[in-house]
């Protein structure tokens, strides 16, 4: 954290610090250059002065330089008039280097140094070290002649300018440094003033980036920056407009996507809810879509077959070959023929496969793919078959009694039928068979009406006790000749039921007729009723031939007749029980059978009481 603060402070004040460092560098460089220049100047000055003075002195007559005793030397004159601070010494030496006369600055001992003997090197300069202080002296030397002969040398020494400021130079350099140092803040503030708008722009841009919101950057600026900021503002404006437009477009797209998604979901749910199984093949013949029903029918998972051709996953070779014919079909060659097949794992089923062309909504002649409908027609087939069987049964059941009637009446017309005995028999047979035909037709009509739902059930309050007594009396009268005992066992009070009286009567009659028909000599037929809390139970009992367990499972099937001889000996068409049960079911009741072969049979009808029906309705 602290390090971050330091960095941020550094970033903020970078300019000021840079300015200070730069100004210090400028001061240092300027002082160095000035110093260097002065040094160079001084050296040049020393050389100039030294060389000239050495030459002037060299031309002076020897006597003036080295006077006799009591006379004043030119050197001492020079000494008084020469006050240069750089001056170290001036000496005249003989050819062996022994000083003849000399003057020097205080504290300076003229160093001993041999002079060149070669005449070309008599005039020259050199650096010598003063032994005591270690200072360096720049020495100029020139020959001294006495009457045309070399009499000695002049040695003139100046202190070499040292590295370091002389006290007199300090104010000079300090003035320069101060001037530069005073200029620094001025530059700094001027620069800052120029930079401030840019900093404002920068910090406002930070806000723009952080808040991700484009607003015009307001900055107080002048000149080119003003122009730049105006242009920049225009860019921001246009960016904002563009972003707004994009946002509008985006929200439009989101809405459209949602709408499309919703429509797609709806279409898919429609396809999945269809009672039929469907598949969509694209132009290449690969599966583009199939609904769950088809996946279940073909025993595949939708995800596994999508994008694949039927060849890759379909087990049924016929289907594969059939569907392969629809890959890359053009609209003209499209055939809507269908085929039938039975799935390998459900051979009892019959499926019709019908292809339909999928046209492009824009170009009607362009084929987008194929919609393949798989329709399970097993039930229809069974229904067709059973309705065919039903009609065949009806025809057979009608023809049999009619055939008997026809044969008897034909015989009556012939010689053989002219006996009284036969005529009585024929009359009875023809009567019975006519009854049989009539009853069969009634039963068929009733059953058909109930099954087709066109039987209007007229539910009214029925006094069950009266209805049962009537039915019992009728049946006892008809069965009087059968040598049977008839018993009626009804409670004194019996609740009313809401029922169609005529239909209920037919059901009870059919059960009673069976009890008489399939009884045995001396047997009994009993009609009894009882009540429970919610319903009425009607029992029809006999102690006749009975029904085996296997037969009990089929006795309510239409046209079912036992194979047993004792039952086949009685005329019947196998519709009575079927009709009775249909009627009871129509009343939301139940019809059950319990029986033991050779001991007897009991049918029990259960119908809900009227009061309970009312309560249920409320």
């Amino acid at each position: 954290m602290r390090l971050n603060k330091v960095f941020s402070a550094w970033n903020k004040e970078r300019l000021g610090l840079t300015m200070i460092i730069a100004s210090l560098a400028v001061i240092a460089v300027t002082v160095f250059l000035l110093f260097f220049y002065q040094q160079k100047n001084e050296i040049a000055h020393i050389r100039d002065q030294g060389t000239n003075l050495a030459r002037v002195l060299s031309r002076l007559p020897y006597e003036q330089l080295v006077p006799d005793q009591g006379q004043q030397s030119a050197l001492s004159v020079l000494k008084h008039g020469y006050t240069d601070t750089d001056f170290a010494y001036l000496t005249v030496v003989d050819t062996s280097g022994r000083p003849l006369t000399e003057i020097s600055s205080p504290g300076v001992i003229v160093p001993r140094a041999p002079l060149p003997s070669d005449p070309t090197s008599w005039l020259g300069e050199r650096d010598l070290s003063l032994g005591s202080s270690g200072r360096v002296v720049h020495e100029f030397h020139a020959p001294v002649f006495d009457t045309g002969r070399i009499a000695g040398h002049i040695r003139l020494g100046y202190f070499s300018p040292g590295f370091g400021l002389k006290p007199g130079q300090i104010p000079y350099f300090a003035t320069f440094a101060l001037l530069i140092f005073l200029l620094t803040p001025i530059f700094y503030f001027l620069l800052r003033r120029e930079i401030r708008p840019l900093q404002q722009v920068n910090s406002q841009m930070d806000i723009l980036i952080e808040k991700a919101h484009l607003a015009k950057v307001e900055v107080a600026a002048t000149g080119e920056l003003r122009e730049f900021m105006d242009r920049f503002g225009q860019v921001i404006d246009s960016a904002r407009t563009r972003i707004q437009q994009l946002e509008t477009d985006h929200s439009g797209l989101v809405t459209t996507t949602k709408l499309i998604d919703y429509k797609r979901t709806r279409i898919e749910s429609v396809l999945h809810s269809l009672p039929d199984s469907i598949m969509v093949l694209d132009e290449s013949g690969s599966v583009g879509m199939l609904n769950a029903k088809l996946a279940a029918l073909l025993g595949v998972r939708p995800a596994e077959v999508l994008g694949k051709k039927p060849l890759e996953w379909c087990k049924d070779q016929n289907i594969v070959e059939f569907l392969a014919g629809y890959a890359g079909k053009s609209f003209r060659s499209f055939s809507t023929d269908s085929i039938e097949f039975s799935p390998a794992d459900a051979p009892e089923k019959t499926i019709v496969v019908t292809p339909y062309p999928l046209f492009s909504p824009k170009t009607a002649s362009q084929l987008l793919g194929t919609l393949v409908l798989f329709r399970d027609i097993s039930a229809e087939k069974v229904a067709r078959q059973s309705s065919g069987e039903f009609i065949a049964h009806v025809a057979h059941e009608l023809k049999t009694p009619l055939n008997i009637i026809a044969m008897y009446s034909e015989t009556l017309q012939s010689e053989a039928g002219r006996t009284e005995e036969f005529m009585i028999e024929a009359a009875n047979v023809i009567h019975d068979e006519s009854e049989r035909v009539s009853m069969l037709i009634n039963n068929i009509l009733n059953i058909t009406k109930i099954e087709m739902g066109s039987m209007g059930i007229e539910r009214k309050r029925v006094k069950l006790r009266d209805l049962l007594e009537d039915a019992f009396k009728d049946c006892a009268r008809v069965g009087k000749s059968e040598n049977l005992e008839f018993r009626l066992d009804l409670p004194r009070e019996l609740s009313a039921v809401a029922a169609d009286k005529e239909l209920l009567r037919i059901a009870i009659n059919n059960l009673l007729t069976n009890a008489i028909k399939y009884n045995r000599a001396g047997g009994t037929v009993e009609l009894a009723a009882e009540e429970t809390a919610t319903s009425v139970l009607i029992h029809i009992r006999d102690n006749g031939v009975g029904i085996t367990a296997e037969e009990q499972e089929r006795i309510f099937d239409k046209f079912y007749r036992s194979e047993r001889d004792d039952i086949r000996a009685k005329s019947g068409h196998g519709l009575g029980l079927s009709l009775a049960r249909e009627i009871i079911l129509l009343h939301h009741g139940s019809l059950e059978v319990t029986s033991k072969p050779g001991e007897g049979t009991e049918f029990t009808i259960e119908i809900t009481k009227e009061s309970d029906l009312l309560q249920q309705a409320v």
Partner: protein, 132 residues
Amino acid sequence: MKRILIVDDEPHIIRILKLALVNAGYTVDEAYNGEQALAYLEQHQPDLMITDIDMPRMNGRELCLHIRQKLTEHEFGIFILTARAEMEHREWSSALTRVSFLEKPVSIMKLIVSIDAYFQENQPREEHKHAG
């Protein structure tokens, strides 16, 4: 005298056919289903069999197939007399030898004429058989 076996589960049919055929000079035996007919055939050799198709136990189709495939010693003709008019019954019966298909209701007179004609046609073979 020619012996005719009538197989039908309707007693009235047997009764009336028997009356007519006896009057026409035939000896008539009766059976109420296929099983009874086979039991009869173990002991007797009829000259003709008239049978219904819809019968309990063994139906007419099973009976005819059994006779023609298993009881090949019996060469008598078979008249199928049925109320079942479906094509499939005509088909299986036409595949068997010496089987005629008659659909109910049929006139007794016409039936007797057909039976007489059948015996007329098969007379020489019968004689040949007796001679052999």
